[in-house]
């Protein structure tokens, strides 16, 4: 298991322009193994843009990304996935019409190949799904259940299971509890804590201080596209972090 000090991902001086708008300016970010980093900021502070740069959806205008200490240039989300970085999107990015197992393996399905034709290996998908859900202690009736039949919390659990099914090193979660009923929030936070224990670095973007203080080890605030403040969680308070979001120190 990786030690907590191992640096998994580092963003250095990332800058992103959209036309004349500066969305990010010289932003730095570090995430270590087994650590949870909370990223906070007001709407438009650049949180989502930063995450999209990390995942390869946007190319940074300037700055560089280091995976395991090596500089990498991402052409697409596929590249970041191959480097062990996974996103859990706010809109969950699940296909409701497909079963749980097929969602978890969507785009990376195990197949049996017959020449050019790739046939899905349904048996293997089911086996891998059951094993993976069991490992994360996610309870669903059956891996064959369609995602649209699940509750919000179960869907979030499937989305997180999806992100970690391929030995992810870093998982980015965008507002993981925003769409959930209060009673389901705890289960998702538990899931994040158990992910940390497996050595995964987790980046959580959230507006909810309760979430940040329940799972994070470190918190950083973005303000108007720049690094505004950063602290170990134990050395700050809710009021201070809320102040950072509003641009007050």
């Amino acid at each position: 298991m990786s030690s907590i000090n191992q640096l998994l991902l580092e963003a250095k001086s990332v800058t992103k322009y959209f036309g004349t708008i500066t969305a990010l300016e010289n932003v730095n970010l570090k995430i270590h193994a087994g650590e949870c980093l909370g990223v906070v900021g007001d709407n438009g502070a650049g949180k989502s843009t930063l995450m999209k740069v990390l995942s390869g959806l946007y190319k940074p205008s300037a700055g560089s990304l280091f995976f395991d200490g090596k500089e990498k240039i991402l052409e697409s989300p596929k590249d970041s996935q191959n480097l062990g970085l996974e996103m859990v999107y706010q809109d969950l990015a699940l296909a409701g019409n497909l079963p749980i197992g097929e969602n978890i393996f969507l785009g990376r399905e195990p197949t049996k190949n017959l020449g050019l034709l790739k046939f899905l290996d349904y048996k293997k998908i089911k086996e891998l799904t059951d094993a993976h859900l069991g490992k994360l202690k996610i309870n669903v009736k059956s891996a064959d259940q369609k995602v649209e039949e699940l509750s919000g919390g179960q869907r979030q659990a499937v989305a997180i299971a999806r992100s970690t099914a391929f030995n992810a090193k870093v998982v980015i979660m965008d507002e993981p509890t925003a769409a959930l009923a209060i009673k389901e929030v705890g289960k998702v936070l538990d899931l994040i804590n158990s992910l940390k224990k497996t050595g995964v670095g987790v980046i959580v973007i959230s507006h909810r201080m309760d979430d940040i203080f329940a799972v994070c080890d470190r918190v950083m605030a973005l303000f108007q596209g720049t690094n505004f403040a950063e602290s170990e969680l134990s050395k700050t308070s809710r009021d201070e972090v809320i102040g950072w979001i509003m641009g007050k120190k």
Partner: protein, 337 residues
């Protein structure tokens, strides 16, 4: 997590998948039984049944193509025109004296290229909706078909060219009469539908087509090349329209300017009746087949009973609205908000 909700839904969840899968077949069986009682001497006679299959043969190809497009939450309005253009190209190549194996392949290639044109247009030109692109090509392809043929029918093909649409498989060796033959087009429908059933249900590409219809953002975030899959889908749709042209060439022995006029609407109707959802991601190959059959049997049955074709229009329209309303209800009940 929500045990109460799940219990409340459990009966529904148990029945619904079966109803969703086989409900349409139930409707088809009911229709066949009702028609049989209304027309006991004629409806289930060998002659009439083969007739129905011959009549739906080329429509079933168009419907299957449009079905895949609808699963991606798209639409293809140009299939009728693709078929007409492919048919005209076939006719011209045949008249030019090309050997039959060339003539037979031309509509398939032409259809495929038309579909490819649609797919590339939708993705590369970033059309706001496939409706726009295929509405455009509905006119473009039919206009091109008229331009190359001068807008006049071209008739007279060899037996080899007409085989798929007009051929008969003799069954006298089974002790049946000479009139009790199997239309080649029926065998073709069966083969094509089985191939595409396997494609949609068993292959990775088929699964991705459903995923794109379910949530295109999820598909994209999963690393699926959505545009590439869309181009494949529209190309296959064009290819199937090309097969439709080949069947029609056999049936009518002619390439004619009005071929397939408004047949895109029949194809869409068959998909919708068969349970494909306009919202995308939902529908089965079996359902489309049932949809095509229902429309074919409805027309045939009403013809047998001498019901005016105006009533046929009213009935088919009503069934479409009803089928979509059922889909709306299903979504309301089935999806957790």
């Amino acid at each position: 997590m929500d045990n109460k909700d799940q219990e409340k839904n459990s009966l529904y969840l148990k029945i619904m998948p079966y109803l969703e899968k086989y409900g349409i077949l139930l409707l088809l069986v009911i229709m066949i039984v009702v028609m049989h009682f209304l027309q006991p001497d004629v409806f289930l006679s060998w002659r009439n049944v083969t007739n129905v299959f011959k009549q739906i043969s080329w429509q079933s190809m168009l419907a299957l193509g449009v079905f895949m497009v609808i699963v991606t939450a798209g639409i293809d309005l140009s299939v009728g025109s693709i078929m007409m253009l492919s048919l005209m190209i076939l006719a011209i190549v045949a008249k030019a004296g090309a050997p039959w194996y060339i003539v037979v392949i031309t509509p398939l290639i032409a259809g495929f290229l038309c579909g490819l044109f649609n797919g590339l247009g939708i993705t590369l030109l970033r059309m706001p909706h496939p409706f726009i692109m295929t509405l455009g090509t509905l006119y473009i392809f039919r206009g091109t078909g008229n331009l190359i043929s001068g807008g006049t029918p071209i008739s007279g093909f060899t037996d080899e060219v007409r085989y798929l649409g007009h051929g008969r498989i003799d069954l006298t060796w089974l002790g049946l009469e000479k009139s009790q033959y199997l239309p080649v087009s029926l065998v073709l429908i069966a083969i094509v539908y089985i191939i595409f059933w396997i494609f949609m249900n068993k292959t990775r590409t088929g699964k991705w087509i459903y995923a794109i219809g379910g949530n295109p953002n999820a598909a994209r975030a999963s690393g699926i090349n959505v545009n590439k899959i869309l181009v494949i889908v529209y190309s296959l749709c064009g290819f199937l329209s090309g097969i439709g042209a080949l069947i029609l060439a056999g049936r009518t022995d002619s390439g004619y300017p009005n071929a397939g006029l408004q047949s895109e609407l029949d194809a869409i109707a068959a998909c919708i009746i068969g349970g494909a959802s306009f919202f995308g991601g939902r529908g089965t190959v079996l359902g489309v087949f049932a949809g095509v059959m229902i429309m074919g049997i409805l027309r045939n049955g009403l013809n047998l009973m001498d019901v005016s074709s105006f009533w046929q229009q009213v009935l088919i329209g009503s069934i479409i609205v009803l089928a979509v309303y059922i889909d709306v209800l299903r979504r309301d009940l089935g999806t957790r908000k």
